[in-house]
Symmetry: C2
Subunit: 451 residues, 2 copies
């Protein structure tokens, strides 16, 4: 049995390791156009921020670790063609300009996603970065440590995390978001709250501009970005730019081979991570996700999901049986001392899917008020008016916000109603929560809003 | 409509406020033998610890607040007899030695619980305290601030919380637990871990002795405790003693009136908080709880539960309908930097109820390993082998332990199996959790252990 894996950041690396344990005698080969494998892409902002200096801490397993387990790793080897009928892949050695036709019994596509580069004049100047790979992180950190001013294009998760990282390294940040709101996975009321809390905590360290599109990068004499010009006519000087305008799945190679793609061009898979072509699996950021709340297709590229999908793909490719039931859209991030977390559907998406969303928003202490480290959290809890089914939760605050969201994940998984959930018995002690947790408070109010 | 409420710490106070909102024209009277009403008993250790100096921060509502809402409060008025057939209660004014027969339409018993005083020689000496009421907290703090050495009898929640409080106030603590383990609501493996972690962090600030019964308090010339003598022959000098050997429900007054009592002598109630006698309700620490995991009776006196029960009792006493579905046995506490949290049944109790408990224990990072504030947590996840139903979770660690337990509460509420739960999508980002959360790790291992 020969198993070929394309890509090995999270899903591919997990799949390779799992197959080796499932089928000790199989041949397992990884091809990747990357220079590293098996690393924490999500950790890059924290490396840049200076939480640790050694980037190799981001590497989970080295090519040598894999070789020691008889898994062959070919770095800088890109798959340029999949031939499902021939059960072969065409691999191009990017360093030596050689191509090779490789046969497989099972193919696992784990090609991930890549940053979107918006159509901005001069977007190919020097010192314009994106953040995805290890070398991106190293390059940004190197530049950051010699800089005073940075511009970030995009106010999603990566943009917000880099804002923290840059500010902690004493570099002034100007962040532009062309949408009306930053963190647009949240509902607008919550995004507004995030914006308000971040701007009021700035103390001159950063500026955030929404509804402002970057139109042009202006070059200095070395072809490096010098100024950034926006749709409002604003011009901001900068030492470098990071574009964090979202990602798209690396699914072209699959689509080209006739493999079905779906939501946002991510590769279609069933719950065994099988694609539309026999013996070809996909996992990680390149493939679609099943949203368990609504039983619909979605695409939420995340490292935690990639790991689970890689495992399921490996088990099925090995001839055993495993099901990956899907995702809940759970996410969390931090910007300075603010935590932003969500799970499930937001109001807008829920309405688009045919639900009749009702919600409750509460702002409360995260602990009993007399505790010295008490802080506010704002919680939004969403349910369907007709069935009462809980649909999602969003939380923002200096206080312990992600804890509350994670209580809701299990409730979404079980498709509990607001009324069911209101009966929850969450742990209570003054250092951990108020007597009645804000979450139960919200659930109780929400229960009275559903039919 | 005249509603009489006996006791008003958490459940009784909540009930009074709720009734006033439900029935604006009713007559609501509170009788309590206490000197304060509507306070956070759970906050007393944190007041003693010095997190705040003004004990009135523990008071949620004052008698004046109640009077302003036309709720009459009689402090130091003890109910000495309930006459269900006559719908009357006999109230003794403890300050003026007068008794009065009071009629009611609805009676709500919220008499709480009281500390157990073990049968130790000289247990009536001066400077031997228990902690339950506001004046207990004030007296202990006053003594603490003039002391160098304290002895705590009992290593449950209160004992452990007071150990933290005393140590933070630079008083050396010797804690004696007559059982083989402290924190005995946890399984022995987890209690052992708690003991090991606490003793290794002591640095001479405290000693914890298990399997050691206090036999005698030895008096000085002022009839104050001077030495504590234990079953091992050990004699420890001390400035004062706190007895924290558990609590019992104040249910005698109900039992005496022919009202049924059940588990551990707590007052039997249905899910409307009705007792066996018509128009008499009970709520809070004096009454039984319904354990939702196993659908059995239990008794877990906690402030958060008392609040919910008070609300339900009030709604039903007011003639509307409300159901309190029960508890999950969720609890959390802190001792210095260690968090201990649990929900559901432990292995011993599960086995006693006829389950065939299987479990998984994992010790993992609470965040991604490269984050600067990463810490260990140990998680124990328990399921029934035959049905796969999740039964409970226990977590101990410097790291973010209670967060994981609260994810399990919703799962217990929904009676999810280990396999269902393993599909959970918990939020992930390096400052908040590892890529695969320890909880999902444990769930995955547990799923392979059930039939």
């Amino acid at each position: 049995m020969k198993i070929v894996i394309l890509g090995a950041v999270a899903a591919g690396a997990k799949a390779a390791a799992k197959i080796r344990r499932m089928l000790p005698d199989s041949e397992v080969i990884i091809y990747t156009d990357d220079t590293h494998i098996s690393y924490s892409s999500c950790g890059l902002p924290y490396y840049i921020e200076g939480n640790f200096d050694d980037y190799t801490l981001l590497l989970v397993r080295s090519p040598e670790d894999f070789e020691a387990k008889n898994i062959h790793v070919f770095l800088r080897h890109k798959c340029v063609k999949i031939l499902p009928k021939c059960k072969q892949v065409l691999i191009e050695d990017l360093e030596n300009n050689r191509a090779e036709l490789v046969s497989y019994d099972k193919l696992i596509i784990a090609t991930g996603a890549r940053p979107v580069i918006p159509d901005i004049i001069n977007n190919n100047l020097k010192n314009i970065f994106t953040l995805r790979k290890i070398e991106d992180g190293i390059a940004i950190k190197e530049k950051l440590l010699k800089s005073k001013k940075a511009v970030i294009v995009g106010g999603g998760y990566i943009g917000i995390e880099l804002l923290e990282a840059f500010v902690r390294q004493n570099v002034h940040v100007t962040l532009f978001e062309h949408n009306t709101h930053i963190m647009k996975h949240f509902d607008e009321d919550m995004s507004t709250l995030i914006y308000d809390q971040l701007t009021s905590a700035s103390k001159g360290r950063y500026d955030i501009f929404t509804s402002e599109k970057v139109n042009e990068f202006i070059a200095d004499e070395n072809n490096s970005v010098k100024n950034v010009k926006t749709s409002s006519g604003r011009e901001v000087e900068t030492d470098f730019v990071v574009i964090a305008s979202g990602v798209v799945p690396n699914s072209e190679i699959a689509k080209d081979a006739g493999i079905e793609v779906g939501y946002k061009n991510a590769i279609k898979v069933n719950n065994r991570m099988e694609t539309s072509e026999e013996d070809i699996y996909a996992c990680g950021d390149c493939c679609e996700d099943h949203m368990m709340v609504s039983d619909t297709s979605t695409w939420i590229p995340l490292g935690s999901t990639a790991n689970k999908e890689g495992r399921t793909a490996a088990i099925n490719a090995s001839g055993s049986e495993d099901i990956f039931k899907g995702v809940l859209g759970s996410a969390v991030t931090r910007c300075l001392s603010l935590t932003m977390s969500m799970t499930g559907l937001n109001v807008k998406d829920a309405a688009a899917l045919g639900y009749e969303p009702v919600f409750v928003t509460v702002t409360k202490n995260d602990k009993v008020g007399f505790m010295p480290d008490v802080n506010n959290i704002t919680l939004k809890l969403i349910a369907d008016k007709k069935t009462g089914q809980l649909l999602g939760c969003q939380a923002v605050g200096i206080g312990d916000a992600d804890k509350r969201v994670n209580v809701v994940t299990s409730a979404l998984l079980a498709k509990l109603t607001a009324r069911d959930f209101y009966n929850n018995d969450i742990t209570y002690a003054p250092p951990y929560s108020p007597t009645i947790d804000p979450l139960l408070n919200a659930a109780q109010l929400l229960a009275s809003k559903v039919d």
